[in-house]
Symmetry: C2
Subunit: 388 residues, 2 copies
């Protein structure tokens, strides 16, 4: 499986973005549009303070079909009560009117500051006439959903005659517990809704639910898939594998572009007693501030990895069995044998990708988690986010 060199929208999908005046500069509104009705499935944040778009989105997705997605930046419409629900509805209504499609086939997302009302009239004005600017390039749509991302994220891959394209954003407040911040998946494959829904859940489980930038679970996490069927039926097993591959690839892009990040952090846990324990430990590794700063500094302080494995007190771990690799190089062996050259480990940690592999040698379960280093850039970005 591989990615297309340049992402494209699958047949029948278009997108557009613009600055409608919510932000001082850059795109602040995006629309993704299917020329025909598309089967759809979605998963949302489990945060108990979900945004108005998530509350409504859960209802809308039950219909199993969508024509359009609208996304705004700067204000997330979370913690905004009934006024927030009404404003989210007005976003869908504006798109319904502009594109002449049923309101219940429009889903909305908002990202940005929590506990602030949406400038709904600015958005409504921005939507007016936007249907004249639909484009084939998913990067244009990706650009309008960026917040602190440093570049727009989109990718495409193929299954049989069909294309899968994913557009996403991440950056901060990212430890999704169902889906990532905002990820939209478009395909022209023909797939029934229940199958699409279960494929989405399986792909999310091994990609976005194994991603963390900063342990903070957003109130707006949303992952939607739309399948308009224009490319006909596909091998469903292959489709699922390809979808999983593509979701992991975009998860890596989101991790690597985490706020202030300079490196991609990969944690592989092997030989765990259960999948649940493998996932828990892999997450603990990529979330440890001391591992994240070690990766940033390229400091050969690999003992911190032992600490982070060991702090998973509910998991089965036998210290004297464990082996540890940094980018495939063994550095800590069975029987608690410390075996590494500081200079060599410093060298291994100096690249763009830091891979940590922990083999617990207790069972056959494994998991991989995706994260990034922790740098002054994260602090700078978040000490004044509200004000910027």
């Amino acid at each position: 499986m591989k990615l297309h060199e340049k992402p494209v929208m699958p047949k029948g999908f278009k997108c557009t973005s613009k600055n409608c005046g919510i932000k001082n500069g850059g795109g602040d509104i995006s629309i993704f549009y299917s020329e025909t009705k598309a089967n759809a499935a979605g998963v949302f944040t489990q945060n108990k303070f979900p945004g108005a778009p998530v509350i409504l989105g859960r209802e809308i997705i039950k219909n199993g079909s969508l024509r359009a997605i609208i996304v705004n930046g700067k204000v997330s419409n979370v913690g905004t009560g009934n006024e927030g629900i009404e404003n989210a509805r007005r976003m869908a209504m504006a798109v319904s009117k502009e594109f002449d499609i049923p309101q219940e086939e429009v889903i909305m997302s908002s990202t940005g500051v929590i506990a602030k009302q949406l400038p709904i009239e600015t958005i409504e004005n921005g939507v007016r006439g936007i249907s004249r600017n639909l484009q084939d390039d998913p990067i244009i749509g990706a650009r309008g959903i960026m917040t602190t991302d440093t570049y727009p994220k989109a990718l495409s891959t193929s299954v049989d005659e069909a294309v899968i394209t994913i557009v996403g954003k991440g950056s901060g407040m990212i430890e999704p517990n169902m889906a990532t911040m905002l990820v939209y998946i478009f395909t022209d494959a023909e797939i029934e809704v229940p199958v699409l829904d279960s494929m989405l859940r399986e792909a999310v489980s091994s990609s976005f639910n194994m991603l963390s930038v900063d342990t903070d679970t957003s109130t707006s996490d949303t992952c939607i898939v739309m399948a308009n069927g224009l490319a006909g039926k596909v091998d469903e097993e292959l489709f699922l594998e390809t979808l999983k591959f593509a979701c992991v690839e975009i998860a890596k892009m989101l991790a690597r572009d985490g706020e202030g990040a300079t490196k991609l952090l990969l944690a592989n846990v092997l030989g765990a007693k259960s999948d649940q324990e493998a996932r828990f430990i892999a997450k603990a590794l990529i979330n440890s501030p001391l591992i994240k700063t070690m990766a940033y500094g390229g400091d050969p302080n690999i003992g911190r990895i032992l600490m982070a494995v060991g702090k998973c007190v509910a998991c089965e771990i036998e210290p004297e069995k464990m082996e540890l690799r940094i980018n495939d190089k063994l550095v800590y062996l069975e029987e608690n044998k410390i075996d590494f050259d500081e200079k060599e480990v410093r060298n291994l940690l100096s690249g763009d990708i830091v891979g940590i592999t922990v083999d617990l040698k207790l069972g056959s379960s494994s998991a991989t988690a995706y994260g990034c280093d922790l740098t002054e850039g994260y602090i700078k970005e978040n000490a004044a986010y509200y004000s910027s």
Copy 2:
């Protein structure tokens, strides 16, 4: 209850510290000594990669009595296998010989880099003759156990005729799961071992187990109490209350001096359904990188507090009931009413102490957690800790 203006060692306790050559400068070895046999209790890290001193310490503390504690810095003697156990034993042996006390009444702690063998001969040489330098000032002992702490931490308080003195260190890799990094409690009160043990556990639960600098649970957390009885019996109920008070006070000192920290972060959760949920949410608040950076920047991004409460998906939370206060000022009310002035909140966040109070209005359980802000200083400290 109040602290003494200046900490003192209780009757019959002495301490000393020195540089024995493990570190380039500053104290790297401390000894705390009781002139008579003291009843003792202790709790240790639950990290599954415990250090050799923790493995031995758990056995030693079962005897219920201690005469001395030895502590070294720079190397933590963790992940070091049988050689590490042997080195920890040699530390106790050196003290036993120097002070002419039974080896099984000496407990040892080590703090510093993980997965590195202890320079045991340097320590043995350092202990030789150290008994000639015993002092009454706990700050001298506190100085020898510092790692990245910016100042030595000790405090004293009184119960009846008895004194309670606590010496501690914290700073990084701090989210204790039984006790904090290194905390030693000395008292001349007369208290039986089982009572002392249960009092210690209760005090630890509301203080060190509610403290987090960076979510990373050390492999060396140790909290020991020694009671030599020289001041006679005390009112045990009052002793427990005073011990809890003193442990919270030192926990606050450890939080406020977290690596790179500029502010103390207090999270109070009220009206929770259970103590467990109150504790869990309070911990989530002080551990959220986005709240920590908000506190650092004094940025009025209070929506992040809603996010951090909401991400506790296993807890009962009703968004429309919750109230939120910053330093006692209501900013978010029932029915999702956003009600704050940005300038005022900026002002509330500008002080040395940021207090967050969340009232869930669902039950009668409450908890308080202690943390600090997240700054560039933490990154700087930890990107090159091994190498510094």
